[in-house]
């Protein structure tokens, strides 16, 4: 028998969403035992990379208002957002900002001692609350440190979750591998929250941390939960070459220009009001159009690109507000942004899609919630506005933490009756079929092919043929003889984890491509050259994908919730 650990709440993932959920649950009741599992050491989660800001309405008497944040979010989503969800975010996020201030967050301040905010793409008011250009890092640190206050939170650093245990439609727990020693362990609890973040590593050119692979999504998918709106992948306009490391939108929020090889601020031709601060999908498309029209630059590595010019901002502003960007530029691109423009190119940055949930973050399994980037409660619709994601993580972290706590208090552990069959099936899947699997193709080569295929066939602009070809390629890779692990040592076996991650990447990439193929319209981040217009008659609905035993995913649709705004044309 494998070891079993019993907790009251299990949170998988320790990014902003996971840690916020842990605090929310822990402060609900001191007797709840909360486990936070993460495949990286807790404070190293991908959220530390977030740079630019967290959107919130703080200054209602200075011209901002909640309604405007709600509308901007919905407009940004190209009207695919569920409007009740957007409302909830906007109402709750000011609390979270002030709450973080009480917990020690080093928000950047105005001279009068109040919290400062900066402009961000797609907003009608400077609303991105920031802490220099390391917002996510500081938020993570604040939440991590605050977690240490609670004796009832236990961190499981470097534990890899492999599957969800459930009993028809009730959540029971997770199966995990303790990476340090390779032990297979069951963690059971009345309630759980999945906060495993985004999956952008299915692309090669990506701003994400290496740990952002879709194992969390895949785990839910395999347990029969739907993945929603996965075709909507956000490409951020400014990734540096060759690493894909992000230059925050805050750089444009502070006044940076995008220029083409003629030295023009070309955005005036695409979004004449907002220019560089139009929403991300608009700017990225404009960039690719410029490049295709031959007005791009060539990076020394041979890649086409444009340039981001910050030189006119001046030494002081850059050092004061964009210090991290300058550091990244010098170190990873060899360019000091104070003196010269930096080469950038649209880069995979965010997944609007995720595990299907309702407005509260509840999934189709009783007792299981999702929060953060892994969730798709349909806040972002077809395109997320910058700075709305860290907001989402905080708000739904807090909500799901509290709901899960209430649930666990109500049902205690007597709802648990773990199905041993599931555990042994999972054990077979990962140890017999993966760890001791056989194959002659190098999984790392498969991974490279997969991510390159995604870069090529499901980038900013998509067509029927590129998507079909991508799908064919992925299925072909899937069928190759690659599922094996060379390294047979139990301790800290990253080779094993890489292969498990790849397994999930292949499945989720297929869902992305299939969703994109089915959506014959252009909406938000999903732009089809062959269907240039938004088609509200046929596609004003969410895509759902269900797992089908390694056959083709079962696709379905789900209605959008409207409460206040009818779809309108979107201009910036």
């Amino acid at each position: 028998m494998t070891e079993t650990l019993l907790y009251d709440i299990i949170i998988v993932g320790s990014g902003l969403a996971g840690l916020r959920a842990a605090i929310s649950a822990a402060s609900k009741n001191k007797n709840l035992k909360i486990a936070v599992i993460s495949k990286v050491q807790v404070m190293r989660s991908h959220s530390v990379s977030a740079e630019g800001g967290t959107a919130a309405v703080l200054y209602e008497n200075e011209g901002d208002n909640l309604e405007s944040h709600i509308y901007d979010t919905i407009k940004g989503s190209d009207f695919l957002a569920d409007q009740d969800v957007a409302e909830l975010l906007v109402k709750k996020i000011p609390y979270e900002i002030i709450q973080l201030d009480r917990w020690g967050m080093p928000w950047s301040r105005k001279e009068n001692g109040r919290i400062d905010q900066r402009k961000f793409g797609g907003y009608s008011f400077p609303r991105a609350t920031y802490a220099q250009d390391k917002v996510g890092f500081y938020e993570m640190q604040t939440l991590y440190d605050t977690c240490l206050k609670y004796e009832n939170i236990t961190f499981f650093n470097e534990w890899f979750c492999t599957s969800i245990l459930h009993n028809s439609n009730t959540f029971q727990g997770f199966t995990c591998i303790e990476i340090k020693n390779g032990h297979f362990v069951n963690m059971v609890a009345p309630s759980g929250i999945i906060c495993t973040g985004g999956a952008g590593r299915i692309y090669s050119f990506s701003t994400y941390a290496y740990s952002s692979t879709p194992d969390g999504l895949d785990m839910a998918y395999r347990a029969g939960l739907a993945l929603k709106d996965m075709e909507f992948v956000q490409f951020h306009p400014t990734g540096i070459i060759p690493s894909g490391i992000l230059i925050t939108e805050g750089a444009r929020g502070e006044g940076g220009y995008l220029i083409n090889s003629k030295g023009e601020r070309f955005m005036k031709n695409y979004a004449k009001d907002k220019l560089e601060l139009a929403s991300r999908d608009v700017v990225s498309r404009a960039m690719i159009t410029e490049i295709q029209a031959g007005r791009g630059f060539k990076h020394v590595s041979g890649v086409d690109c444009l340039k981001l010019d910050l030189t006119h901002l001046g030494d002081e502003k850059i050092k004061g507000k964009l210090a991290g960007i300058r550091e990244i530029g010098i170190k990873f691109s060899g360019v000091d942004v104070i003196n010269e423009p930096i080469e950038v190119r649209p880069v995979c940055h965010y997944m609007m899609g995720g595990i299907h949930s309702n407005v509260d973050g509840a999934t189709e399994l009783n007792g299981l919630w999702v929060a953060g980037e892994a969730a798709c409660n349909s806040l972002h619709g077809a395109n997320r506005l910058g700075a709305n994601s860290t907001s989402e993580c905080l708000v739904w972290g807090a909500i799901t933490g509290e709901l899960a706590a209430n649930y666990s208090i109500k049902y205690k552990s007597n709802s648990i009756n773990v199905d041993n069959q599931q555990i042994s099936t999972e054990e077979k899947r990962i140890f017999d079929r993966i760890f001791r699997g056989k194959g002659d193709v190098n999984p790392y080569e498969i991974r490279k092919e997969l991510t390159d295929t995604m870069d090529e066939n499901a980038y900013v602009y998509r067509t029927e043929s590129s998507l079909v070809e991508g799908l064919k390629k992925i299925r072909q890779l899937k069928s190759l003889y690659w599922k094996h692990v060379d390294d047979q040592v139990k301790e800290y076996n990253t080779n094993f984890l890489n292969v498990m991650e790849l397994d999930s990447m292949l499945r989720v990439a297929e869902v992305v491509l299939l969703g994109a193929l089915n959506r014959r319209e252009s909406r938000g981040a999903h732009s089809r050259i062959d269907y240039k217009e938004r088609d509200d008659n046929n596609f004003l609905k969410h895509t759902l994908a269900y797992y089908n035993d390694d056959g083709e995913p079962k696709m379905n649709w789900h209605p959008v919730t409207f409460t206040r705004y009818a779809p309108a044309e979107r201009r910036y």
């Binding site: 990286v40 609390y95 002030i98 001692g113 941390a209 800290y492």
Partner: protein
Amino acid sequence: MGEENKKVVLKVFRTNYNKNESSHYDEFEVPVNRWTTVLDALLHVKSYSDTSVGIRYSCRMASCGSCGMKINGRPSLACYTKISELNKDVIVCEPLSNFPRIRDLVTDFSQFFDHHKKIEPFIHNDLVPLDIKDKDDLVEFEQSPKEVDDYLQFSYCIKCGLCYSACPTVATDPSFPGPQALSQTYRYIADNRDNDKSTRFNILDERHGIWRCHFAGSCSAVCPKGVDPALGIQLLKGHMMGFSKNDKKVANLRAKNKE
């Protein structure tokens, strides 16, 4: 990727599980260009030469703190060290000193994290509710940009452990909190939202506490984020000795209706 296609040799420390943990070095030749970082090179080895190399990494942009290791003898972040900067044809990668080893380049951080936890690294303030319950609490602390600058630098710490690996006291004294935890204490003491010096002073004023730092400065020399832990520690000592007067004014909450 075009450009100069040079090759260098990576010499990687390996723990050997089969032969009772006797360790050795493996050498790998890897192609590099001007952007290749040590992390890129190691991942290249892992993908195409020897998949079993044990290494911890995540963000590849020097913000998560995973990839600390000794590179050519000096504690460094692998993702933050470009091969072209090293100007060497052989690059030696070893696990950080002063951490128990798990495998190859991967070390055990639990004690390091415990030290951080022991200094109670969160805001203590008995005058203000720290958990917001209702709308009346919806006001922030008043803190000027200058007051932020008093602690911001120490807040940059990514818990990478490089300082812990370099400190000569940590090298022999596992009970010594180490530069990371000590400088985090200073971070909270310098933050004017915190009003409880005495608890933290008590934690550190101990045989193996702050006084076991002798300003060897190695922590600040290796810190990749400019935290300068040695500075925080010495300033903290000054406060504890009562030699530096503490002119911190504890922050108030903004009056609700004040603009």
